[in-house]
Symmetry: C2
Subunit: 227 residues, 2 copies
DNA sequence: ACCTGAACACCGTTCAAGT
DNA sequence: ACCTGAACACCGTTCAAGT
């Protein structure tokens, strides 16, 4: 996909409903692929497996989608079809908190999408709407556009990075297993202390929330200073 | 890899140098794979291609590495063999700024590693040392261990997320191409304004730095309040 | 015992044969 | 013209044949 799937993401969606609707459609293919990824992981989304689920031949898929890469791009954008609902009239901070949590929910619902978020891709209509929503929050504060973008990037960047350990922590007991090594105590003294205090295995702090509050605090200070 | 490559990452590294050193070694395999990934992308790292580069048979690789997944885990950790050098005696903020920029440099040098950072994996010795370095910065401020972890996660999370558009922006002119659409102005008014002001195509703000300063501001406020 | 080629079970996709 | 099976060029890995 030379254009990063751009044409496909933004092209005409549906043809006029004339005659019998075809058994296969791009919407149905993407929806089924998304269901497979959610349930079995992205790696299980093969053209063959997908075709079986849809009760069609493998090659029939290529009638509606140019290739695997473009399908994945469509899947990714499809996770963001519903724009987040933000509280209105409660200020930018409440709105951005809701936005950040919505992004987090998104990655929890579709863990496979997190790796894609870091991959090269054209922006689809879904992602564009999510971005636009967040930009609007800061623009309402009267900030210049480029500062709005930087602010959104700060929040979005934080969320994307902070969600990772949450997702993988669930089924990965090996994360800190290296501390059982003899040399661990001297090689990684600070990590060792962290675990020794048992504060990692039984976290008493909402790590995600703590970081988010710091990011928002930092933005708040900037906004107040530049009002 | 049932243990996420843990045993391999932390197992004995080298056997005693007796007799002629074998032509192939895990270190050499990982180093060559890393070179391929840096130059041609992670997708070009196939066992066959890698074997050709090393002048060996494909199956010979499996003498030193259990499989592809474990190889990738070793490659990822190999990007972090050199722990970052942080300024000492200039306070936590200077140190964490250096740490954050070092992480950013890492992903710029190995763009393929960014997607892996979001994937499930066991922590290797390299990543552990980087984490330990950052934890030490906050521990020196006398913060409880769990707060230190949350603070590092905030910075690391931000960097990981904010680096993404930097990396992909270079060779992706399609990112905002959707704005050429007729309906874009009303569908995405805030994004439209952003581009209309030309502030995106010719950014006058260091987006990465701006966000980082906000995150550090937020942490600074917390640290001062809890001193 | 050590090493490694041939064979296997996949993968996405091309292409031409079918209707 | 539309659809799709067989064939192709890959992929990682098993297994047994080689030394």
């Amino acid at each position: 996909m030379g254009d990063g799937g751009y044409e496909l993401l933004w092209g005409a969606k549906t043809r006029p409903a004339r005659g019998r609707p075809p058994a296969l459609s791009r919407e149905r293919i993407v929806a089924e692929a998304l269901a497979i990824a959610d349930a079995e992981g992205l790696q299980q989304v093969s053209m063959k497996h997908l075709a079986e689920r849809l009760g069609s031949g493998v090659m029939s898929l290529y009638r509606h989608v140019p290739g695997k890469d473009e399908l994945v791009a469509l899947m990714y954008d499809a996770t963001m079809t519903d724009p987040p609902r933000l509280p209105e009239g409660e200020g930018w901070r409440a709105a951005m908190t809701a936005w950040a949590l919505a992004v987090r929910d998104l990655f929890h619902a579709h863990p496979w999408a997190l790796a894609l978020a870091t991959a090269n891709h054209a922006m689809g209509p879904g992602e564009a709407r999510w971005l636009d929503t967040a930009l609007g929050v800061f623009e309402a504060e009267g900030l210049p556009a480029e500062i709005c973008l930087a602010a959104v990037m700060a929040v979005n960047g934080y969320v994307g990075g902070a969600v990772r350990p949450e997702i993988q922590g669930q089924d990965d007991p090996h994360w800190f297993r290296f501390l059982q090594h003899e040399s661990a105590r001297e090689d990684y003294p600070h990590v060792y202390r962290l675990v020794a205090e048992n504060s990692f295995t039984v976290p008493t702090v909402d790590v995600f929330g703590f970081g988010l509050e710091r990011v928002l605090d930092g933005l708040e200070r900037y906004i107040e200073d530049h009002r």
